[in-house]
Symmetry: none
Subunit: 223 residues, 4 copies
């Protein structure tokens, strides 16, 4: 697996960045500090000017890498889902039973995130928190159709496609695999959000996580 790890390289779609941030120190700092700053300020209050200050650089430098802050968020979400996909592939690979594969997928999607410097130079735990709080904003805007055509949401759609396929394999006669898969993916983040801000809206607590809810749901629905 170490070998696999070393070959892990997130495949972020063309068009999200102007210049790949992984190809320079400044680029890496943009991602690293960007995650810290978006987490700290929230995406709405986050600006390239503030990020420029945080990395000791002028905001105009950041425009070499990203057209605007929205594209940076797309980069982070793309990275996140590519990373989820990587784990999905790795961890379902050796499982034979179709339903077990789905259940493993649920686990991958719903479990708490831990930092692992084997993967990245930046803070994945914070990235996960940003996904919970802000990822909706990556597609809730008027440019969504245009950006979708440009393939900027491909990472998410690849994860979705894989899970949909696993669901279909587990129960070929089930009628709503696409909806079930997207419910799992976006619903999980929302349940985490509710856990943080609206505890009465979720059954999740520190003991019972979104995973339990979805595992039960998958069991019943696909059985």
């Amino acid at each position: 697996m170490d070998q696999l790890l070393s070959s892990f390289r997130v495949n972020v779609p063309q068009g999200v960045f102007i210049k790949d941030p992984e190809t320079s120190d400044l680029g890496k700092k943009i991602i690293e500090k960007g995650i810290l700053l978006i987490h700290e300020l929230g995406f709405d209050a986050f600006t390239f000017k503030k990020l420029g200050g945080a990395i000791g650089s002028n905001e105009s430098s950041i425009y070499r890498y990203f057209e605007n802050k929205h594209k940076l968020l797309l980069y982070l979400t793309s990275w996140y889902w590519a990373w989820i996909e990587y784990q999905l592939v790795m961890e379902t690979h050796a499982i034979n039973n179709a339903l077990d594969k789905v259940l493993k997928a649920v686990q991958v999607v719903t479990r708490e995130v831990e930092n692992d410097t084997n993967y990245t130079h930046f803070n994945i735990v914070l990235l996960h928190k940003i996904m919970i709080e802000e990822s909706s904003k990556s597609f809730l805007n008027r440019a969504v159709d245009e950006e979708n055509e440009l393939g900027l949401f491909i990472s998410y759609k690849r994860v979705h496609e894989r899970i949909k396929n696993l669901i279909q394999a587990a129960n070929p006669s089930y009628e709503f695999p696409a909806s079930l898969a997207s419910s799992l993916l976006t619903g999980t983040l929302k349940q985490f959000y509710f856990k943080n801000h609206f505890p009465s809206l979720t059954s999740c607590s520190d003991q019972v996580c979104p995973g339990d809810f979805y595992i039960h749901l998958i069991h019943k629905t696909l059985a």
Copy 2:
């Protein structure tokens, strides 16, 4: 029921508005044209200046009614969920079987909206579209906890509470009624959104609506 209808008056929480828009012509115009304009421009591009222009008034007049455009969105979401609650109560009232009550609730939440001038002076179909496209923005921001404490999300929480109770009545041993209820409510809007922008992410089409997905899901989960 006509009598009940005539007494329908949406109860929007204190603090959402400064002055109740229902109490004046200008206020009503703000809501009416506000819905048209938010639908037309999207919430991000929508401003009070533009709304002022659209109603032939200065934007400063609008500030008499709403502190800012975010509060106007909260008003619309509160109104929407209060209206959903009203239908929920009306239509589940006469049903005896507990599961049937849940299924009726699913229907109320997932069905297409139609305009009915018995209810309102404004366009509910467009309001529903705004809910699909923009309602997340009412709570995805840094003020969410503070606003929640002020009770600004009470309309949504009341609907959620009712559905949660129906679920518990239908299956007292089910472990995740809160999560299931919120999945239904937010998931439905998201499935509509996907249907419009990411058809591959949903099983919903013009023939098969979110309702079918959730009815199946509820059946399996609570059975």
Copy 3:
């Protein structure tokens, strides 16, 4: 003196108010609450809208009494100096020695203020604090010459004139009675201000008040 007291009626110059606030309950509330609010918020952040809220009335009502908030400040300063003048006359009246009269005048101007409901329905201690913090703003503006011609600063000028005359009586050959008198009047307020905000700029402390400084200064200057 009781008789004198009962006849005490501050003579605020025409043109400062539109309608005399002493002639109605609303007017009295405007003064009372106005003092509280200016003290609380500072004059810059103080608005008629906020005052309207504080007295449970609409801001437009206040415009019946005062053209704008600047005129309200002029009213307060006029009242303050008229009240100082009253004390000045009362307390120097029985003194025969010319220098002692000046020294008494210094005392009247520099001593701490105490509330006395015999005089007024409002809080003189807070009024004094407002004078310390804000009274300069009554004349530091572009309309000063125009307002001066209208006689809006007459109260202050009457106090000044009286003190100048006392100085001249104490030492007819002293060359700068007008400057000395105005130094005393504005300097005292400034020394109080420094005591509150820039202790290093004043020799005044809780033990040694502006009075000691000016009494010493007058002694030396006029002797």
Copy 4:
């Protein structure tokens, strides 16, 4: 002294500006035209928008240099007092007698200002007039204590400290050196103001300047 002059560089405290206006042409224009415009309009009517117009630039450019117009005023007052301090040091330096030093200080503070392009690119005569009309506004506001802690009034306090020390040297037993020094500094500006707007409040005329009043006062007080 020429050598000293050439090395004259006003030391404006950190925090007053964002970017030092002396480091660019635009910055210098902001100061130059800012002085003209504040003098012309008065500080209250002066805005960055108008200044932007006057220097043929957008107001947003000015925000690179100063956070707001209040900070620009702080810059001007800081510069003014630093310039006074410079003259104070230069001109008292060679004097031996302690009282003569104080009297020279009075002269420096109270004399009419003349333009001297050796010092600056901008109009010191107008700056002096702005000090007379507007300098109080630099500290008469609710942020005074906070800004004082940030050291934004250090220039004024340095002048004050020097004069206080001269007074103490001239008469070590005098009890109120701090108050006397601040009376001189703020009182002088006020006497100029009265001369312009309230001639009856001051003994100063075109023949007799604040200097005469204060020289007499210092003589008597410290003798």
